[in-house]
Each structure stands twice: as C-alpha cells, then as structure tokens.
C-alpha cells in the first residue's frame, strides 16, 4: 500500500511539474492578421515566402538556379523570395501544417482545386478579384480563348458567401484522355480507322476491350486507382463512369445533390464491376499509383490507358519506344455516353492573408508569370544557362554523346536536364501547351521544343473537353468530406472487386455516411 502511494505520489509530482511547465508556455496566439487593404500605391514587396509542389522545377533539377534567374527578372532584382519545397506526395500535409500556425503560414501557396476551395472558404486567402481585373495580363489581349473557362472555375465562395477569385492559374488544368495501343487493337482484329476520330458507344467500346482481353489473355486497362485523388475523380476511367459524379454537384433544378448516391453512379459501379470480372480492368488498380499504372502500360501489361493529354502523349510514346515496343497510340474521342472529357480545375497560385503586401506580390510575382516575355519564358522553360540557352554551343545528352546538336548564337534551345542528363529539359512549371496566355507577338521561344505529338494531342483534348465545375466549400463540408470520401472510395473498391453489388454498395454508403451527407447537403442548399 505504502509503496503504491509512493509510486502514485511520484507520478503525481511529475505531472504537476510538467503541468506547471506548460502553464508558463501557454501563450495563446492572438490571431486575425487582417489585411490592411486601403487604396494605395502598389509597392514592390521586399521579401515573401512561397510554397510549391514539384511542378516547379525541383531543387535537384536546377531549382536554385531558377530562383536566382527569376530574382534577376522580377522588379528591380531585389525581391527576396523564400521557397518552401515539401515533398511531392506529402505536399498537402505540409500545407496543412503550415496553415496550422500564423507564423508558419506562407505568403504565397500553390493549391489544388479542393484545397483552394477549402482554404478560400475558411478565409485564409486573399481576394485577388480586383487585382486581377486591373492586371496587365488580363488586359494584354494575349489570353487564349478558353482562358475564361479556366478562370471562371476559380470563382469560389469565400467567407462572406460571395463568389470571388482567390487564386490564379497561369495554365489550363489539363485532363485525361484515353489512349489505345495500335498493336493491341490490331491483335483484337480491329482497325485504327474503327476508333480514330469516331464517337463510339459504350457497347462498341467495351466490345473492343473484350476482344483485346481475349486476344492478349491479359487485362486491358490498369488504371491508377478506380478513383482519382482529386476532382473530377472519375477521370481515370471516364468511359465507365460516364456522367456519374463522384461528389456533390448542382443538379438541373439548382439544388445540390450527392452525385455518389445517384443512379448514374450505381450503373457506373456495375459497369466497372463487370469489367473487372471480365478481366478487362486490372484488379490491382485498387493499389496502383499513377506510376504503377504507367509502368504496366510501358511493360505492355495493359493496352488501353486513360492518362493526361498533351505532353504526356509524347512521353508515353517515347517510353514505349525505349522499351522497344510499338509506340503508336490512338487517342480516342470521348465515347457517346461520356460526351466530353473533363478538364481538371487548374491548381491555383494564392496569396494568403498572412502576406503583408498582397497587392505587391500579385503585381510583381503572379501577374508577371504570363508577361509574354522573359518571366514567362522562365516559368515555362526554366533558368537561362541551366535549363535552356541561346548561345552558340553543341548539346549532347548522356548516353548519346556521339550525336551532338549544334546551335547557332541566339538560337533558343533546351539543355539536358540537370537531374536526368539522359534527356533534354522539357518544361518548368507552366506547360507551354497549356499556358493561358501566348507570348508577345506570338514569339514563343520554345515553340520548336514542343513535339508535334504533344501539340496535336493538346489541341485534340482542348476540343474535346470541358472544365470541371468547382464545388463550394462549407464548414460542414470541410469537417465531413474526408470521412465521406473515404467511404466512397471503400465502396468503389469493394464493388469493383466484386464483394457486393453496386446497389448494396450505395445502400451501405448511405447507411454509413448518409447523415453526414445530409448535413453537407443542407449546408450547400442553404
């Protein structure tokens, strides 16, 4: 007894000492860094922090040189930008962490559509509508004709319930289209002309897939998950999902509904289930990462692949070539039931409310991204002397030392990538095919560097796609969406793997998160 008491006393004492320790350290942070947005002269910002993922050239790939080069181009060359580069796969964890405390919040951050809507609705982002309307880029006349579609998708509801623009995308979001290998098509007894440029129905399309499955005795589609990680979610298997919506959307009557609980989704899940059972879709899709799925396509373990359009069309082709496979890919038109491919809402550059001089940052950092000159070149192609150059020299890539390419003085050319010297640098943050604005006088220095395959496919996609519709975020949505999405993904995986029928799946979904869904719907329809 006595010993126990002593033990307890020991523990108690410790706790007390620790608690008292914490009492000293308990300085609650007073928040509310309200923007002092009075009408005033826009001054050049002295320094600010920028948080980006790996879509900006990584530091192992000459990122530091890009920073230095960019610094010389912006303002009078004294703007001090502190770059924060978290790991790619953990990017949004890092963003979340950074937003945890006011002192760690970056001034500028690149956000995907979902996070953009979330943070905008929570009041973390600076409203740049006015700045954008007065911006040079908007009034330059160089914006491409689909630019408004992209930028309209960035109009989201903020704290005050008004739709405003809280971020800016310098490029289109791009999306996925379906590529079919010519060899597989022919092995299954079909001709290229049967599919190219034609609008198939789902039944026709599925028959082709089944023929391929029979002919090759292998799965035909190995996708990167049955469900994509971000809106529009259904983009890796569009032909199967067709019009089904993964998340909440505004129905024809103007009310928001839960796309996942609709009949379309049930049908879509049944189609996927059948396809998995028929061996058309790879059941390992549930585990696949994008790179896994790509690898299977390269290794000829799959013959049809729905993947990003534009530059990727070229990359897929070259990868197949290096594997010694027939590289001819046919990008098929969206099938009849699908109507059109969906373009993702582009990631947006946002200024947080933490920034001291948001007007200055917008003017000197964001507005210049598409200046049609040197800065845009830097964002599209990288740093001069590291990623591209215009001086007279001969360029060789590693492994092909015997085939140098000679360039004359003043001729724009890409250099070997610092990280992967076996190939030339392709692009920096802004994909030249997807840029929202053209160069001044139409003089894109790197126009030559874009391959025809990529360009053709990019145009093909632009003609066959519409931009996804953003879902407004509400408090209830923010609190419940991760549970709801988790359950959606579980149901998709279960149904696809044939554990339950689609109808049972939807029923289970409703019984598990139905009340959360209702709560979100109520807030959306308020």
């Amino acid at each position: 007894m006595k010993k126990t008491v002593k033990k307890l006393a020991a523990v108690g004492l410790t706790l007390t000492s620790v608690m008292s320790l914490a009492a000293c350290g308990n300085n609650s942070t007073d928040s509310a860094a309200s923007g002092t947005t009075a009408a005033k002269e826009v001054t050049q910002p002295k320094s600010f922090t920028v948080m980006v993922d790996n879509t900006v050239v990584t530091e192992t790939n000459g990122g530091k040189e890009f920073y230095a080069y960019l610094k010389t181009l912006l303002g009078d060359g004294t703007i001090d930008i502190k770059w924060i580069r978290p790991d790619h796969s953990g990017y949004y964890d890092a963003v979340g962490n950074a937003f945890n405390a006011t002192d760690s919040m970056p001034d500028v951050v690149l956000l995907s559509a979902d996070y953009y809507a979330l943070y905008a609705s929570s009041g973390y982002l600076w409203d740049m509508t006015d700045a954008w309307n007065a911006s040079e880029t908007k009034n330059s006349g160089r914006l491409i004709k689909t630019a408004d579609n992209v930028l309209n998708a960035l109009q989201v509801t903020g704290l005050d319930g008004q739709k405003r623009m809280y971020g800016f995308s310098p490029y289109r979001g791009n999306g996925c289209c379906t590529y079919v290998k010519k060899t597989w098509l022919e092995a299954a007894g079909h001709q290229v002309s049967d599919v190219q440029g034609k609008t198939l129905t789902f039944d026709e399309y599925y028959k082709i897939l089944k023929d391929m499955q029979q002919a090759k005795n292998s799965v035909v589609i190995s996708s990167a998950g049955y469900i994509g990680p971000e809106a529009p979610y259904t983009n890796y298997l569009p032909e199967f999902y067709q019009k089904a919506q993964y998340s909440f959307y505004k129905a024809a009557d103007g009310k928001y509904v839960d796309g996942f609980a609709q009949k379309e989704m049930q049908d879509a899940l049944t189609r996927i289930q059948t396809a998995v059972k028929d061996g058309v879709i790879d059941k390992e899709s549930v585990n696949n990462s994008t790179a896994n799925a790509r690898d299977k396509f390269y290794a000829d373990n799959s013959g049809v692949f729905t993947y990003w359009a534009g530059t990727w069309a070229d990359t897929l082709k070259t990868q197949l070539e290096t594997k010694g496979l027939d590289s001819e890919l046919i990008a098929i038109n969206p099938i009849k039931e699908l109507g059109t491919y969906v373009e993702r809402i582009a990631p947006a550059w946002c200024i947080t409310t933490h920034a001291e001089n948001p007007e200055g940052i917008f003017k000197y950092f964001i507005d210049t991204m598409l200046d049609g000159g040197d800065v845009q070149t830097a964002w599209e192609y990288g740093a001069k002397g590291t990623h591209w150059d215009t001086k007279a020299e001969s360029v060789t890539v590693k492994g092909k030392e015997d085939k140098p390419t000679e360039y004359k003085e003043g001729e724009f050319h890409m250099l070997p990538s610092p990280e992967k010297p076996t190939g030339l640098m392709k692009k920096n943050h802004i994909d030249p095919i997807l840029a929202l604005a053209t160069f001044k006088n139409g003089t894109d220095p790197g126009a030559k560097a874009i391959t025809d395959v990529a360009k053709t496919n990019g145009e093909f996609f632009a003609n066959n796609s519409t931009v996804a519709v953003a879902v407004p975020y509400t408090e209830e949505m923010a609190d419940n969406i991760s549970d709801i999405n988790k359950q959606r993904n579980i149901i998709v995986s279960k149904v696809a793997n044939g554990e339950m029928s689609a109808a049972d799946g939807i029923k289970e979904y409703q019984s598990k998160v139905g009340n959360k869904v209702d709560e979100v719907l109520k807030s959306l329809n308020k």
């Binding site: 706790l15 914490a22 979340g96 793997n497």
Partner: protein, 497 residues
C-alpha cells in the same frame, strides 16, 4: 540522543536505531488523513468541472481553459495537488497552508481578477478567429454558462473547507489498530540525512539529467497534449468543448468501433498464431542433433526479423500479386491449373477482404516466428538431460518425452511471452499500415491507422478528435499493461514494468 530501548548513542537524524532496530521517533503511528485528501480531491474536481460539458455549441461552452491566461487555474490546481501530496507525506499541518493558498487564489480569481475568455470561434479574415469575451469573472466560468453562482463554485468551496477541517480528523484510526514500520526501509542509509545522500550521489543526478530531459520532452510533454482531446482543434486555435469528441466517438463515428475491434482481433489472433508457431518450431528445432544444421536453420529463420515492415510488404506485394508477376498465383495457375491457368484471374490476396486477414497473419508468422523461438529455445536448453535419460529408461518414446517433459517446462515461458506481448496489442500500426488499402479498409483499419488517416489524410483534420481517439487507445493500452503486469506478478512473481 540515545535509543530508548537499548540506550545506544544514536547518529544524527536517525529514525531507526542501528543496533536494535527500534523506531526512534516518539510519535505514535499516524494514519492518512483521508478526509482532508477527499476534500482536496473534491476541490480539484470542482476545478475540472468546466471540462464536463457535452456540447459542441461554442456559444454556450464557457470553460476555464478557454481563458486567455489560465494562470489562476494552474496555480489553484497545483496548490490542491500539493495539498494531497502533503497529506500523503503525513505533513498535513502544512497542507492547511496550501489549501488556504488555493482558497486565496480562488477568491482573488473569483472577486478581483476578470479574465479575457475565448468563447467559440468565428470565421474571419485570416482564418478562423476566436471570439473573445473580456471581463469574465471566475464565477461565470465556474457556473458553466449559467447566470449567478453555479454548481462549480459550491463544489470548490465545500472541497476547500473539507480539506482544511479533515486534517483534524483521523478517520482510519477506527479501522486500524497500529501500523508498523516497514522493515524494508530499515537500511543503513536511513540514518544518513537526505541531503548528505543527495550530495554523495550528486554526479548520478547529472548522469540522469539527459534521460530525464528526453523523457520529459518526448514522453511527458505529449501527455500534456492530451488535453486537446477536449478541444476542437481544426487547423488553428484550439478551444475547449468538453467531452463532445468522446460522445461522438462512441455514438456517431462509423469507423471507430470497427477500428477498435480490428485492433484487438488482428493483434490477439496474431499473437496466438505467432506464439503457437514459435512453440512448435522450437520443439522441433530442439530435436535436431546436428549442431551445424541447427545453427544454420536458426540463422535463417531469424533473418526476416531484421527486415523492416516496408521491405516485408514490398516483398509480399510482389509475390502475392494477382498477375504473372506474382509467384504464388503463377504457381497456383500454372502448376496446379487453377483459375483456368491464368494467374491474372488469381486470388487478390492483399486486395480482397476475405483473404487479406489470412495473408496478414501468414506474413506475420513468416516474419516473427523465427525470432519468437529464441526464448523457448533458451528454456529448452535449460532442461536437464537427466530427465530425458530417466524417461528413456522408463521406456518413453520421443513424443512421450515431448509431451511429459518438454512441453510442461515450456508452459511458464509461453505464458511469459504471451503476457509480454499482450501488453503491446494496442500499438499495432506499421505492419498494418504498409499492407492496407481502400478495398480492405473494413478489415484492416486499426486505431492507429485510423488516427493517422484521419489526421494526415486530407480535408480539415480535427486534432482534437484524433487526440481523443488516441487518448482512448492510450487508456485501454495502459489498462492492459496493468492487467498484464498483475498477471505476470501472479504467474512468475515479477511484473513487466
């Protein structure tokens, strides 16, 4: 000073006579002043009362801990803890002083000092900001949002009064006749003053300092963070909401109970299987007479233990893949002719809930059985060979010997291993984490993975909620350890902690 019983000259500060062992103190045996302790505990609970609100409605959720400078609260609680400790240490006269201090702090807080108090959040520029109500008096805080003097105030005052008056009443006197000095404490050192001992051991304190700092920082500080279990902590600015999270956990959360059930199921079955397999292997291994062969086998079966879970998972994902790259499915399809000869139609071991659990156990047995044999082998090598010889003379065959000599000798070790590992069942994380995916979420999600995904899996995490789940896990885990410790003491005479 001299000993009363044997008249020996006593050393300074002696509490016990070194010669005859008689207690030197002339005071009679003392009892704990239970009433005083109870009073302090009541006052302490009164201080905790604002936690007990079952509402997420922030407008009404007044709470002590939302005040901007909870310094009075801390001082008050510390004073009460000191009171309890002083009572336990039989210095109850001093405890009156600390109780009085607690009372004074309380009075100051109650009448004089207004608090700036946070009550709820509001969406504002710069994210969610916390509404501040200034000039809130302690009386408001204690009354839990009601007007006038609330319950909490009475509880506190009654507690303090009982704590002071209780000092003068010896309740235990009526239950116990006498308490003797514990002989265990009668060593020579008792006769040295504490300070001379501290001086003698001064360097040891320095030596312990690093470990102390680390334990305080990385073990105790997080415990303090458990208070977030009672807060809503979404991205920034935690504020207290009482036991709302626990209520939601128990009633509304669709994953929590499954996760809890899975944790117990996976880890206990795993424990049984691993231990069983280890016992069988050890028994068989013990029968091997060729030393070199035995050593080699041992070396091989210990190997998987050194592979991280990441490596193990990669290995098995490859082997169990339902395609031509998966060895097992290829074997089943091409050699045994299952699935129509096509490995792609094979069993999706890690993506099918019906097979995942089994695969998980098999992988665990593969990885840990060998390592688990070490203890059993050590026990087996300790069995006297004479026992076997005697049995052999009695005509026992190999299996009789195993049945009647070897196995009984192992029983104690089996129980030990079981108890040691039972204490760890709530810690299940990495092995599941690296093997799970959405398709098998229902059977593979355990508490730790649940906490991980809920916090780091996107959306807007509520650290408060996941802390609450973690607190639940810690408490269950702690109770398990204590039970195991008790069992261990019963079975083998010593505890595990």
């Amino acid at each position: 000073m001299q000993c009363k019983s044997c008249n020996t000259e006593l050393p300074k500060h002696a509490k016990v006579c070194p010669k005859c062992g008689a207690k030197v103190s002339d005071k009679g045996p003392q009892n704990l002043k239970v009433i005083a302790i109870a009073g302090a505990v009541i006052a302490f609970i009164g201080g905790l009362l604002p936690f007990v609100q079952n509402t997420g409605d922030v407008e009404k959720a007044y709470s002590f801990m939302n005040i901007q400078m909870p310094v009075f609260w801390y001082l008050y609680m510390i004073a009460l803890v000191a009171t309890i400790l002083l009572c336990v240490a039989k210095k109850e006269k001093l405890s009156i002083i600390t109780t009085a201090i607690a009372g004074v702090i309380f009075a100051v807080a109650f009448f004089v000092s207004p608090f700036a108090e946070y009550a709820g959040r509001q969406q504002g520029k710069g994210g969610t900001v916390i509404n501040k109500y200034n000039n809130v008096m302690l009386s408001d805080l204690l009354s839990n949002g009601e007007n006038g003097i609330g319950m909490g105030t009475f509880v506190v005052i009654i507690g303090l009064i009982v704590a002071i008056i209780g000092v003068f009443f010896d309740l235990l006197k009526y239950f116990k006749k006498e308490i003797n000095v514990d002989a265990k404490y009668m060593t020579n050192s008792i006769n040295k003053s504490v300070w001379s001992m501290v001086y003698y051991y001064r360097w040891f304190y320095v030596m312990f300092l690093p470990a102390l700092i680390f334990v305080l920082l990385f073990n105790y500080w997080p415990m303090l963070g458990l208070r977030y279990a009672f807060t809503s902590y979404k991205i920034t600015n935690p504020y207290y909401i009482g036991i709302t999270h626990f209520h939601e956990m128990a009633t509304a959360d669709i994953y929590f109970w499954t996760a809890f059930k899975n944790t117990l199921y996976l880890s206990i079955i795993k424990l049984i299987l691993n231990t069983g397999a280890a016992v069988i292997i050890s028994l068989l291994l013990h029968e091997i007479s060729n030393i070199i062969f035995k050593k080699t086998v041992q070396t091989i079966i210990y190997l998987p233990h050194f592979m991280s879970w990441v490596v193990t998972a990669s290995l098995f994902r490859l082997i169990l893949a339902p395609s031509s790259s998966g060895m097992v499915n290829t074997f089943l399809a091409e050699v045994l002719g299952m699935f129509g000869g096509n490995p792609s139609n094979g069993i999706f071991f890690l993506g099918d809930p019906r097979y995942w659990v089994g695969s998980y156990f098999v992988i665990n047995v593969w990885k840990d059985t060998g390592w688990g044999t070490i203890l059993f082998l050590a026990t087996l090598s300790g069995i006297s060979p004479e026992l076997y010889e005697a049995a052999e003379i009695d005509g026992a065959n190999r299996f009789n010997k195993m049945r009647y000599i070897t196995l009984p000798a192992l029983t104690n070790t089996i129980i030990t291993v079981f108890i040691l590992n039972l204490a760890k069942v709530m810690n299940l994380f990495e092995s599941v984490f690296v093997l799970m995916n959405d398709a098998v979420y229902d059977v593979s999600n355990v508490l730790q993975t649940f906490v991980y995904y809920k916090t780091f899996g996107g959306g807007r995490p509520d650290y408060g909620y996941t802390t609450a789940v973690g607190l639940f896990r810690s408490v269950v885990s702690g109770v398990l350890v204590i039970i195991c410790n008790y069992a261990s003491k019963k079975v083998r005479g010593r505890g595990i902690v």
